[in-house]
């Protein structure tokens, strides 16, 4: 059989498989819709235009209960990204440092980094979130009695309040009756989630980084030493550039895991996408629709993440060749 014919057969097989999958999904959706109708269960996505009627306590933009469920989902998605993107950046930074530290010649630093990795990756993330949340709420005074760390920087069980730019000027947090008003405000739910996701994912990233660095052949390091490069120069000029393209897939994986793990926030009350979907599901009873939207959004986010990772990887490989 010629190579062209094998290629064509493979294509046909893939198309047939895809068609079968699509038909299966279509059949499932059709049966579900029909059965739901027969049972008097209303379905459809029309409810997205209805007013949501609930408040979202924090977010990138203000959400009013008179606005639609669609807008509520958008606010939930924005909240997911608001915690996931900074946490991914922080986890990549922390994980890389710890991963390099795992190979340090200083035994104290190496031991500390090993302890960090082994502790955080062996405790379930949910437990870590509960622990951080407990520390941030039970151990701190209520908002009205919040500790003033620096002038106008308050920390209490209501969260962290910082001065922030608003309306062209600087908005300073002030003590109110039951809350700190003004400035930027990070809730304990947000902080616990951010710290928990960052710490947990950084442990995995550290292991990937260590593995990546060790996979660069010893000859490269020896050659660098023979040229008189210091260990730091070796890392910066020889090992890291060669390890980086190999590191992209595992690190992209960990970043996407972090994004998906952010849905654990429902346990500690952070209003991200799944939390908003839960509330909507209960107010409208449209379980199938709400879950389908959440699935689609995560799928889409991950697809975008993977596309970015692929672009980055081919770029890095290009540099390597250049």
């Amino acid at each position: 059989m010629s190579a062209a014919r094998t290629g064509r057969a493979a294509w046909l097989l893939q198309i047939a498989l895809f068609a079968a999958l699509a038909a299966g999904a279509w059949w499932l959706a059709g049966t579900a819709a029909e059965e739901m109708r027969a049972r008097g269960i209303r379905s459809g996505f029309d409810f997205f235009a209805q007013p949501a009627g609930f408040w979202i306590s924090e977010g990138v933009f203000e959400f009013d209960p008179a606005e639609s469920y669609l807008k509520a989902f958008a606010a939930g998605l924005a909240n997911t990204l608001r915690v996931a993107l900074p946490a991914i950046a922080a986890a990549l930074l922390l994980g890389t440092l710890v991963g390099i530290g795992r190979l340090a010649r200083n035994p104290l630093l190496r031991g500390l980094c090993t302890a960090y990795v082994e502790t955080l990756r062996n405790i379930p993330l949910l437990l870590q979130l509960f622990t951080w949340y407990y520390l941030l709420t039970a151990m701190l005074p209520p908002a009205a009695e919040a500790i003033e760390l620096l002038p106008h920087v308050f920390l209490g069980s209501g969260g962290l309040a910082l001065p922030w730019v608003a309306d062209g000027g600087l908005s300073l947090p002030q003590r109110g009756g039951f809350a700190i008003t003004g400035g930027a405000h990070l809730s304990p739910e947000y902080l616990a989630l951010f710290i928990g996701l960052t710490g947990y994912t950084a442990a995995y990233i550290a292991e990937s980084v260590r593995g990546g660095l060790q996979s660069v052949s010893a000859g490269q390091r020896q050659a660098a030493a023979a040229l008189g490069l210091t260990p730091r120069q070796t890392l910066r000029l020889v090992t890291l550039p060669q390890a980086l393209p190999m590191l992209v897939p595992p690190l992209a994986n960990q970043s996407l895991n972090l994004l998906k793990n952010s849905s654990l926030a429902v346990a500690i009350g952070y209003p991200e996408l799944v939390s908003i979907a839960n509330t909507t599901l209960n107010q409208t009873g449209r379980a199938v629709e709400c879950i389908a939207v959440v699935l689609a959004v995560y799928l889409l986010l991950c697809a975008v993440g993977i596309a970015i990772a692929h672009a980055l990887e081919s770029r890095l490989r290009h540099w390597e060749r250049a």
Partner: protein
Amino acid sequence: MTPSPPRRFPHPLAPLAALAAALCLHALPAQAGATLDAIKKRGEIACGVSSGVPGFSAADDKGQWRGLDVDVCRAIAAAVLGDATKVKWVPLGSQQRFSALQAGEVDILSRNTTWTLTRDASLGISFAAVTYYDGQGFLVPKRFKVASALQLKDADICVQSGTTTEKNLADYFRAQGIRVKPVVFEKFDASLKAFFNGRCVAYTTDASSLAGIRAGEAPNPDDYAILPELISKEPLGPAVRRGDEDWLAIVKWVVFALIEAEELGVTRDNAEARLKGKDPAAGRLLGQGEDLGKALGLDAQWAYRAVRAVGNYGEIFDRNLGAGSPLKLERGANALWNKGGLMYAPPLR
């Protein structure tokens, strides 16, 4: 303190399981009478309860389920199967409860569930009766010196998701022109823990549950107060799957029989004597003379067995929520209609 029931800890994406269940709908009986036949064949009723709301449905330290919602299921089991113990208890989270009923995982949902238009008309379920008239209230630590809900401006308020609570909260404070910040938890325990750890200025849910929470979960009940405002109507009652009118009628009339029994003064202890007594109404209820059971597809003594198993509505209330319970709730709106309350059974004849 109320014993802590076994608690389930589903994954945040637990509704997925509900989705899978909803997709299996076609395997279920839909025509009238099918539910009763299936129950008789199975020999037990599958009753959806909460995973632990004191006074309504919670397992005690011996693993026995107790509460008003639980006794409703026992009464139905006694009426239908002749044995109040033939109940399979299915603890359900607030997100899974409707899907579980729709998918046939339970025959009856007796889980402090509020009867609303949307739920009754669009979820493929039917509410049978009201077993408790509730309203949403607030629990606050006394040290904040809050006397009214109207003082809660800018306050963080802890709430469990998957209930009617979040919307009521927004409705009430929007009408008052006050902004508050709900902190929404998926799990009941998590929301309570956060509140008692000092995360919020107030905790909000149905007033009956607040009494249970204050008595049973607070580190020191005297440090907490329930605010006077009730901000919503929460009629709680059992619901069944749509499409089987016979089963709906059975559930509805067992509840009415328990209310009627209280009105007629028929109790667990005197039911036997009243069965043979002179009062025709009591005789009819208990199966002496006229046979009301036949119309429901049951035998003549269905209501007798229900009352013998759990007592009349008043007895159920006292034992689980009222003077005979740790909650010590007043009858209030749940008194009989001729004693200033709303409990009223259409005539059993």
